[in-house]
């Protein structure tokens, strides 16, 4: 792995981490803001709830307080009026108790010494079990003048609520007393009128303030004594100050105590045993009492904390998922990168393979006056299965074209093998039939993938223009003479199919200016977007006129390009153009005979002239003469109706190894090769008189071929020498 790549990977990871961090910060900030405002709202709501409760509780208390005070104050005038008749004072008390259900007991206690006859006088009326009981407080044990409820109102010269106290007279009842001084007409304080009220309801009222499930409420007196507390042991037994002393780190408690004792209204936070609570406190007017509600923080914020916890959990989950997604994304990213690199590498290798393949086909053409060549190979993919090749040896042009079945890399490998095989075999073999047979054997013997090659191989003798060729399943090349026509080829099987197959070789004389276009089916089967094929007719049209080989191929390419009109190339396209421009024949080797049997005598001279440059045996000369005579005499005697004039054209071509005679006539169609072979082993009696002529031609020549073309009989006789 390259350094560049590693760096990129690191930076990708960094980006991933940054993404996660940013997401985390954003989420956390959002939730913090939300939490803060929610908390503030909840806090405000809690305050509102606590304060409302406190206020309504105070109102309820004040109702009782006011009732009590009113009951007492309303009786002041009558008590004052009764001062002169102290014995009637008890009835004043009874009236108060009876008229006011909240009042449990009442007294009018005279100031000691006010009535000379009664130094101490304090009738006391109270309710017990729904009946009024008359009692006196003027006992030496009780010593009422020293009591707070007696001294304080006189001292204050106004109504006074006593410190709550526990009355043990009729069960343990928390009581408080409202006292008011009574003055006579002279303005002398004469007595104190009181009303006792039970504070049991207070315990219920305050104790039942339940703003939150775990909230506590308590009430203290002006001296800081517990009046209401969920901790009953404290009630009336301890002061807040005493309890606070036992608390460590009690600063906030001391402050709370002070504020409550000072009758302030407010709230503060307390931490007790690691638990934070909010305290809302408020005094009760005139009584000097103060109450407070203690709400554990968890009660207020528990819900939002749980929600916040849930939100945080979701955030974490989200972040975890984000990390996972990013991780898999980056992992895939690197996987894709790896795939990309692999693809790139394959592409590079394919390009190299393509270059190698292209370098296997020759692109430099022989610079000869007798030959004009051009070739092109355009694979549909980077590499293909088409091939062409050529080289010149011993003044002979060896050439071939081939098309491997299939496309792509497998085809290209077979193409390379085929081309190598061609070079190897053709290096020492002149006959295309043998070249193709040998190549077929070598390809068949190692063809395990059943790939085959259509192949056309030709050997053009540049000295005399004589062309031998062998076709192995390839499409026939186009022959350009004074017209354009398909070269007549034996179909044969493609290479690589049957081991040991003999391939038929063919031959044809090339004249000056004849040309051959070899191509693969990618040319005629080139498709346009409408799936029409280029076809042979368009190819012929593109070949119209005579020009340089290169120009011909360029024209064809242009025609194809216009035809396909941008449709993608589906098959390899290969062309090889061979234009023979050998020396024009100086000695015409043509002989024209009329349909007169006497013309036969012209044959020996013609044959001598044709073979003049060759060192051939008298026997062969004799035989050639014989074969030609047999063939010609057949035509002269039988081709034309008696009495009509006709000719036999003979063209002879000779190279170092081969003699070819092409006989043509315009007579009636007659194929001498179709004649049955004569039985030369038959005895005298059975021996047929006829058939010897064609038998001789067959025996003497190496090949005899008949064609009927353009109303002509054409007989091609070939002899290898």
């Amino acid at each position: 792995m390259s350094t560049r790549h590693r760096n990129r990977k690191v930076s990708a990871t960094t980006i991933g981490i940054m993404l996660v961090v940013v997401a985390a910060i954003t989420l956390e900030a959002t939730s913090l803001v939300q939490y803060y405002y929610s908390k503030r709202g909840i806090r405000e709501e809690a305050s509102l709830r606590a304060e409302t409760q406190l206020e309504s509780t105070e109102n309820k208390i004040m109702d009782i307080i006011d009732q009590t005070e009113a009951a007492v104050r309303n009786s002041v005038w009558i008590a004052r009026w009764c001062l002169d008749y102290p014995d009637s004072l008890a009835s004043v008390c009874a009236r108060i108790v009876m008229d006011n259900p909240v009042v449990m007991g009442s007294t009018v206690s005279l100031v000691p010494g006010y009535d000379r006859q009664r130094p101490l006088f304090a009738p006391y009326v109270f309710v017990k079990d729904s009946s009024l009981i008359y009692h006196t407080l003027a006992t030496p044990e009780y010593d009422y003048p020293s009591k707070e409820w007696f001294t304080k109102p006189i001292e204050k010269d106004g109504g006074y609520w006593s410190e709550p106290y526990v009355d043990t007279g009729g069960g343990e009842v928390l009581m408080t007393t409202f006292s008011i001084p009574i003055k006579d007409e002279k303005g002398v304080t004469a007595a104190v009128l009181t009303a006792d009220i039970s504070l049991d309801w207070l315990t219920d009222l305050v104790g039942n303030i339940r703003v939150y499930p775990n909230a506590n409420s308590l009430m203290i007196s002006r001296t800081g004594r517990f009046m209401v507390s969920k901790n009953r042991e404290l009630v009336m037994q301890k002061t807040v100050g005493e309890v606070v002393e036992q608390i460590r780190d009690n600063k906030s408690f001391i402050e709370l105590n002070r504020a409550m004792l000072a009758g302030e209204t407010g709230n503060m936070a307390l931490v007790f045993q690691g638990e934070k609570s909010y305290v809302y406190y408020r005094p009760v007017e005139r009584t000097g009492w103060s109450m407070c509600i203690v709400i554990p923080e968890d009660d207020i914020f528990g819900q939002i904390r749980r929600i916040d916890l849930l939100v945080k959990l979701f955030q974490l989950l989200g972040l975890a998922m984000l990390i996972l997604i990013l991780r898999s994304f980056f992992k895939n990213q690197s996987k894709y990168k790896e795939l990309d690199q692999r693809r790139e590498r394959m592409q590079r290798e394919l390009q190299i393979a393509s270059n190698i393949q292209m370098s296997m086909v020759p692109t430099v053409f022989p610079e000869r006056t007798d030959l004009d060549m051009a070739a092109t190979l355009v694979p549909a993919k980077e590499v293909g299965g088409d091939l062409y090749d050529f080289f010149i040896r011993d003044d002979k042009l060896f050439f071939c074209i081939g098309d491997v079945s299939g496309k792509g890399i497998p085809a290209s490998l077979v193409m390379a093998v085929t081309r190598t095989s061609f070079r190897n075999v053709a290096a020492r073999q002149d006959r295309p039939g043998l070249i193709v047979s040998a190549m077929n054997d070598s390809l068949s013997s190692m063809n395990e993938n059943n790939m085959f090659v259509t192949f056309f191989c030709g050997v053009l003798d540049l000295k005399n223009g004589y062309l031998r060729f062998c076709n192995a399943g390839h499409n026939p090349p186009l022959l350009l003479t004074d017209n354009i026509r398909k070269l007549k080829v034996e179909p044969n099987l493609p290479l690589g199919i049957i081991l040991g197959m003999d391939y038929v070789e063919q031959e044809i004389p090339f004249r000056y200016d004849d040309a051959l276009l070899l191509y693969t089916d990618g040319l005629t089967e080139a498709e346009n977007t409408r799936h029409e094929q280029f076809g042979e007719d368009r190819l012929r049209a593109a070949l119209h006129g005579r020009k340089e080989a290169v120009a011909h191929l360029e024209t064809i390419k242009q025609h194809i390009s216009v035809f396909v009109d941008g449709a993608p190339q589906s098959d390899d396209l290969t062309m090889l153009f061979i234009h023979y421009r050998g020396e024009k024949e100086t000695v015409p080797r043509h002989l024209t005979l009329h349909n007169d049997i006497a013309q036969i005598s012209r044959l020996p001279g013609f044959i001598r002239s044709v073979t003049a440059e060759r060192n051939i045996s008298p026997e062969l000369l004799n035989n050639l003469n014989l074969a030609l005579e047999e063939a010609v005499s057949n035509i002269i005697l039988y081709a034309y109706p008696k009495g009509t004039d006709g000719v036999v054209e003979i063209v002879a071509r000779a190279d170092r190894n081969t003699l070819v005679f092409i006989l043509s006539d315009s007579g009636k169609e007659f194929d001498p090769t179709a004649k049955e072979e004569v039985d030369i082993s038959a005895g005298v009696a059975e021996r047929a008189i006829g058939g010897l002529g064609i038998h001789l031609v067959r025996s003497i020549m190496d090949s005899i071929r008949y064609e009927r073309k353009d109303g002509k009989n054409i007989l091609i006789l070939t002899k290898h020498i």
Binding site: I600, P604, E619, N622, N623, L626, E629, G683, I689, S699
Partner: protein, 100 residues
């Protein structure tokens, strides 16, 4: 093409000289038809000076041979050149004729 026929009792010597090609065969055909009448005897085809023979010439030889076979005569081919021997070989005539 020249044909000379000489008779020695029951032996006819036919001296062929020149090229026995298609036109020559046509030319000597009547003469040869006459000769076939005497195929009951021994006919010696002297080919010493015969330089060439085509299928039409061979046909004449074969016609004589068939006549001889019918009439119980003999055909002897004498002194053929290598070229003509080759032609005889190709056509299976070496087996049909008595060659000296």
């Amino acid at each position: 093409m020249e044909v000379n026929i000489t008779r020695k009792e029951k032996e006819l010597v036919v001296h062929l000289s020149g090229r026995l090609d298609t036109p020559a065969s046509q030319e000597i055909m009547p003469q040869m038809a006459e000769l076939a009448q005497e195929a009951g005897d021994t006919i010696i085809l002297d080919c010493t000076d015969l330089s060439y023979i085509s299928s039409s010439g061979l046909r004449i030889f074969l016609t004589l041979r068939k006549a001889a076979a019918e009439k119980g005569g003999r055909i002897i081919v004498r002194n053929i050149s290598n070229e003509i021997r080759g032609v005889f070989m190709m056509t299976g005539f070496l087996n049909l004729f008595e060659i000296q």
